[in-house]
Each structure stands twice: as structure tokens, then as C-alpha cells.
């Protein structure tokens, strides 16, 4: 971004109430840094994958509290910003080897799921646009596949839990559901077992040793001549 662009296009943002003028086109995260803030909490991967920068904001003149990820959303004029540095969410401890995807297992660990009033606030709060309430309902029914599929893109930013009027932590319950689904319901890959067996039986030892002791020229030739599958 050139200097003139920066000067031409500035917007006002309010970081926890205090006004700053920042260049247009920056993400909320970069705008706060431009304003002089240095993140310790409230910043993570900076690419939309870690859920570390959950942000609550309001636009001047509007009553509505909105949520987003600071690393993904570009600033708008009149944004009042604050961040969620930490979510004190409950996460029970369980033994995956002794658990099973039974209809009630999610309710056993997360009985508060039953308090869901279907208000859809969690869905509205999701910066990933996931159907959070739908997967909470699926969790109540013990429909593991539905929970796993709908919740898969969750980055556990904490916003749904903080907004839920009945104190449900949707993403923790979904994590358990996905792990049980992945471990006990999804079909296992037989070819992986077969390959492990071949390796254990020493099937490739000789050939690998030959490769390791091959001269550079031979190795280069083998590499160049190998066929490409797709």
C-alpha cells in the first residue's frame, strides 16, 4: 500500500472506546497494530485457522453487537472494537478407549446440551457461518455423523459459548462427537494396515538400503525416470 493511498483513505475505529484513524483496507488486527497495540493475546495464526482473535464490535449508530475474527475482517468506519482474550469454557476429561458413540454419551459429558432453547444465537455468532444450533440439536439426538459434518470447520474461537444464554459450549461437545465418530464410526483404511504389515515384515528393507547406498548419478536417474501417477 503506497503512502498516498494511506493518507487518502482513513477510517475511524474505536479500540475499546478510544478513537484512532487507520488506513482503509487493513484487517481489524492490523488496524489495531497500526494504532499502536501489540498483541500477546487476541492474535494467533493471523490466517483464520486458530480462533485466537475473536472480536466483538458495533458500528456507530447501530445497536447491534456483531462478532468476527480480527485477522479476517477489514475495518469499517465507526467500528467500536473489543476482543475476547480467553474463554473459560468447560472441557471434561474422558478416556477415548473406554468411550463409545452411544446415543447419550454427549449428554453424559455435556448435560447442559439439554438446556438448548433453539434461539439460534450460537449460529448467528459463528464467524465461520456454521449451523451451530443444528449441530447442538443433532448432538441431543446422538446423531454423530451430523454433528461431525456440520461442526467440522469449527476453529473453537469461543464466541458461540460466550453468547449462549444457557451456557452450552457447543464446540467442546462437537469435538468429542467428532473424535468418537472418527474413531468408532468411520470405516478404517485397510490399505494402511496392509502397508504397515509389509513394513514390519521387512518387505522394503532391501530396496530402501539400495536407494540409500546408490550413487548420486544413479539416484538422479531413478528420480528423473520415475513415472508420475496422475
Amino acid at each position: 500500500m503506497s503512502k498516498s493511498d494511506v493518507e487518502e483513505r482513513k477510517v475511524r475505529v474505536y479500540v475499546m472506546g478510544r478513537e484512532y484513524k487507520v488506513p482503509f483496507g487493513l484487517t481489524i488486527m492490523k488496524a489495531m497494530e497500526y494504532a499502536g497495540y501489540r498483541f500477546i493475546r487476541g492474535a494467533g495464526c493471523r490466517g483464520g485457522f486458530c480462533g485466537g482473535c475473536a472480536t466483538v464490535y458495533r458500528i456507530e449508530g447501530d445497536y447491534k453487537l456483531r462478532v468476527t475474527l480480527a485477522c479476517q475482517k477489514t475495518v469499517e468506519d465507526g467500528m467500536y472494537l473489543t476482543q475476547l482474550p480467553f474463554t473459560p469454557a468447560n472441557k471434561p476429561v474422558y478416556d477415548m478407549e473406554k468411550s463409545s458413540p452411544s446415543v447419550n454419551v454427549l449428554l453424559e459429558y455435556y448435560p447442559e446440551l439439554a438446556k438448548c432453547v433453539s434461539c439460534n444465537t450460537c449460529t448467528k455468532a459463528c464467524p465461520q457461518d456454521l449451523e451451530v444450533m443444528d449441530y447442538v440439536q443433532a448432538a441431543l439426538r446422538g446423531d454423530f455423523e451430523e454433528v461431525a459434518t456440520l461442526s467440522f470447520d469449527c476453529i473453537a474461537c469461543g464466541l458461540c459459548a460466550m453468547r449462549c444464554p444457557t451456557e452450552i459450549v457447543p464446540y467442546s461437545a462437537a469435538l468429542l462427537a467428532r473424535r468418537l465418530y472418527g474413531k468408532y464410526v468411520m470405516p478404517r483404511a485397510k490399505h494402511v494396515d496392509e502397508r504397515i504389515k509389509e513394513i514390519e515384515e521387512g518387505k522394503f528393507e532391501g530396496e530402501i538400503k539400495n536407494l540409500m547406498s546408490a550413487s548420486l548419478d544413479v539416484l538422479k536417474e531413478m528420480y528423473t525416470k520415475r513415472d508420475i501417477e496422475k
Binding site: S2, F49, C50, D153, I196, I208, K220
Partner: protein
Amino acid sequence: MSALGLIKGYPKKMRESIELVEKTRDERIKHPYKETYRFLALEERDEVLQKHHPDYKREMKRALKIGPNKGDLVPLEIADIIEAHSAVDPKDIDLSHVDYDTDILIIGSGGAGLAAALWANYSGTNAENILIVTKLRFGDSNSKMSQAGIQAADRPQDSPMLHYLDIMGAGHFVNDPELVKTFVMEAPSIIKWHEKLGVMYDREPDGTMIEDLIGGLSRLRVHCCRDYTGLEIMRNLMDEVQNLGIPVLEFSPAIELIMNEYGQAAGAVLWNMETEEYFIARAKSTILTTGGFGRLHIQAFPTTNHYGSTSDGLILAYRAGAKLRDMDSIQYHPTGAAYPEAIVGLLCTAKLRGRGAQPVNKYGEVFVNPLEPRDVEAAMIIRECYEKNNGVETQTGMRGVWLDTPMIDTLNGEGTIEKAFPAMFRQFNRQDIDIREDPILVFPTLHYQNGGVVINVRTETAVPGLFAAGEVTGGVHGKNRLVGNSWMELQVFGRRAGIYAAERAKKAKPGKLTLNHLVKYEEMLKEAGIETDRRSPVLLPEYRGEKALSHALDIL
């Protein structure tokens, strides 16, 4: 049209180029994947790399003046943190009071650190005798951001030998053969372990893994979980660490290693980022899993990396006497976002090319095979943009080529992008760009530290008692890593680090703690005539004020 004059996310000038891309698409789509463009011969690769890859710019490197790698060429930014004073003055540290006494100290909570913690526990070290310390939140890492997947040669059409050859060829044949052999032979068992943990790999209905062939590979071998592969594996590992009760200290990076009177690593000085107090952690085995250096912005490149990727572990290990290798070699991911400004430098996963998206120039012409190894692909894109001047220039002066994502749905069926690339789809959608309909503009971005601390197959460094695994190490990838091999490295060598660190902890004695190595390092700086205010580790990049704006990129 939006208020800013953008049409579905793009300004008119870029739209004109997109029209040219659309015109050539029907013809191009007849020759997807490896038919797209001929692969370069090894000599041709060398030529384009020499001329266009940022690694080959001699003036951006300097020879180290001190330490085990004295005389080695490294990027200026790395030399700067190595030829720097410690952030710690030994006189300020009271080693007589140990705050955390543990068998195994693990520094870093990405994929390698968590695998080490779990396997140390499986190997008989009690959870309470393991301590994970991490600079930011538990699990904050590049591991979590990995999209394309993880490699293991587990299909009948594939073999560990082909995996070995692919790795050596991409790495310019300088890789450590023992490490590579260990890697390819143990990879399938990692996939099995992940299945047991509950990782939801993409599979066919009969359980067969869906695997991709991506740049530099000879077989379909990259396992994935949509394009959130790293996130999915990480949340399984994190949950397991929590279930087992392994303690984690967040916002507490190690700022120096501690040694003992026998010259062995014996823990670390930790620093609470929030209260700004130091703590002493004493350990019988210390494992470094601190990741790479993207946030040092080598040659001012934007990066795909996590906020905390500042190469802390590398300098800690070097001060303690560990050797490094291949630090002259850096991975620039060929396809970082070049537009819009808000996401410049972020990763556009290699899996996009694996599923058929072709890189094309501003005229919609193909100029490279989408399945070349990363360094070659990146150099060809830089050549197209600068030497050939066939790139598209954005409003902010960034150049890039198109990655023709709409081809993916045509080649693989409608809905593929939403199903297989939800993260990519979402990322661009937030910027009003629909990658199903329009191509995206890309340019190489700083991605990965190919080299690092030297380890053997037991993950031991040159410093007794100090183990290392993951991006902080070098050897597996030689001078260029393949897609999907970083995650597998984290797991194969993270697991080994846990096992061998546990083995050592059973008999090792912590001994008397000392920071004498820092005093000696300070003397080395003085002898070499290095006068500087620089201190390291740097812990976090400096982005305040004008630095929040994107780093200008001067390629010419």
C-alpha cells in the same frame, strides 16, 4: 459494483485480465494435471532457481562469524538473531530456586511437541513429570494452519521407495538418508495412530483414504481432512494431552536453555509474557519443538506463518552448542495470496493445484506445470511476473499470476470446492471473491524453514540431553520440502523425541544448573568484533505503527 468500484471483489483492470483467463479455460481444461505443461529437467530446474529463486541471491546472505556453523552462509535476518546478545543476562537469574522440576520439558505446543508429550507418556513417563511450555496459547502453531495434508505411502500403487525418491529429488539430494528412511518407513503407522485417536481423514465409503498428488510427488499420497488437515489433527492431539492431564504453561516461552555442570541441557529459563517474570524449569530431557521463522520476514517477504514463528528454538540451541544445517535454504510457497491487501501472503493451498487449478499469466497462458516441486514452481512464477513481465499488477503494486480455481469444479464435479476447500472458499468469500467463479491472484510467500538444528534418528542434537523435532530441525527435507511432509515430520520425529527423551529421563541426573554457555557466547561475540544492540530470541514480530502495512516487496 461495490462502492469502491470493485466487481465481485476485483477492480476493472483485473477483470479485463480475468476475461482472458476465461477465454483460454476450455482449451486448457483438456490438458489438466501433469499434461498441463512439460516438467523441467533437473538442469533446467537449476537454471530457473539460480536466476529467480530468492534463495540464490548472494547479497541477501552473510557468513556467520561465530559458533558451530561459523563461515556458513545464512539469510541476513537469521545472522542478525544469531549474532545478537541473549535476551537474558545470567547475572539477573537465580538458578538456585527451581520453579518447575520435571523429567521432560517440551518447548512448543505444535504438532511435534504434542506428539512428543503423548509418546513420552505412552512410554511410561507420568503425565505430571512432563511439562509443555508454549509462547502463546496451547496449540498455537503453524501446524494448525496446514491445509493440504500429510504424506504417507500407504496405497498399493505407492511404496516407501517412491516416497524416498520424491523427497530426495525435491530436496536436491542433500537430505540426510537415515532421517528420510526413518520418515518414509514410519509414516503409515502415524496414519494408523491418528485413526485410533479419531482424526477424520477424508475417505471413500469403504474406508480407502482419499489421497492427492500435489507438486513434486510421483503418486497420490497426501491425506487430507477437507482443507483443515492441520487443525483436525491438532485438536485431536490437544484433546488427548488434556485428557491425559499433561501440564501446559501458556504464554511462557523459553528464553534460554539451562545447562548443567556436565555440559548437558537441563531445562530452560521461562518468561511469563503477561506478568514479565522469569521462572526456572529444570528437566532431565529437554525437547525443542519451536517451529520456524516466517515472522522474521526473510527478504521482507509476507508470510503464511503463525504470529509466533520467530525462530526462538534455533537461537537457543545454537547458544547451547547445537549445530545447524541447510539454513541457507528457505521455502517460498508458490501460491500466497497477492490480492486483496487484507490477505496478502496468506496461503492458497497447494491442494488447489493438486485438484487441477492451473497457474496462468495475465493473458491466460500456461507457463509452468502445476505439479513441480515448490521451489521450482515459485521461481517460475517470479520469472513470469518480473523477467517476462506477464504478471497482473494490483492497485497496491503487488504482482501475481492467476491460479485458475474454477477449473477444480469442472474437473472434479460441481461442489468440489465447497466440500474439499471450505477454508479457501471462506477466506476469499470474506473478501467478496467467489473462487468457484473467478481465479485468484497469487505470488510466492515465505512459508517454511527447510533447514534447522541437526538431529540423528533418535532426535538427539549435538547437545546431550537436548532433543529436537519438527520445523526447528533440518535434514529430512534437504533444501526444499515437499507438500504434506511437514506434518508427517512433526509426527514421526515428535514421537521419537518423546520416546527417547523418556528413555533418557529414566537414568539422567539434572546436575547443577548453569548459564555459563551464555557468558561464553558473549565472549565469542566480543572476540568476533560484533558490536550490536540486537537481542534474541525476539519472541514476537514488531508490527506497530507503519509496520502494520504490508511489507513492500522489491524483487528486481
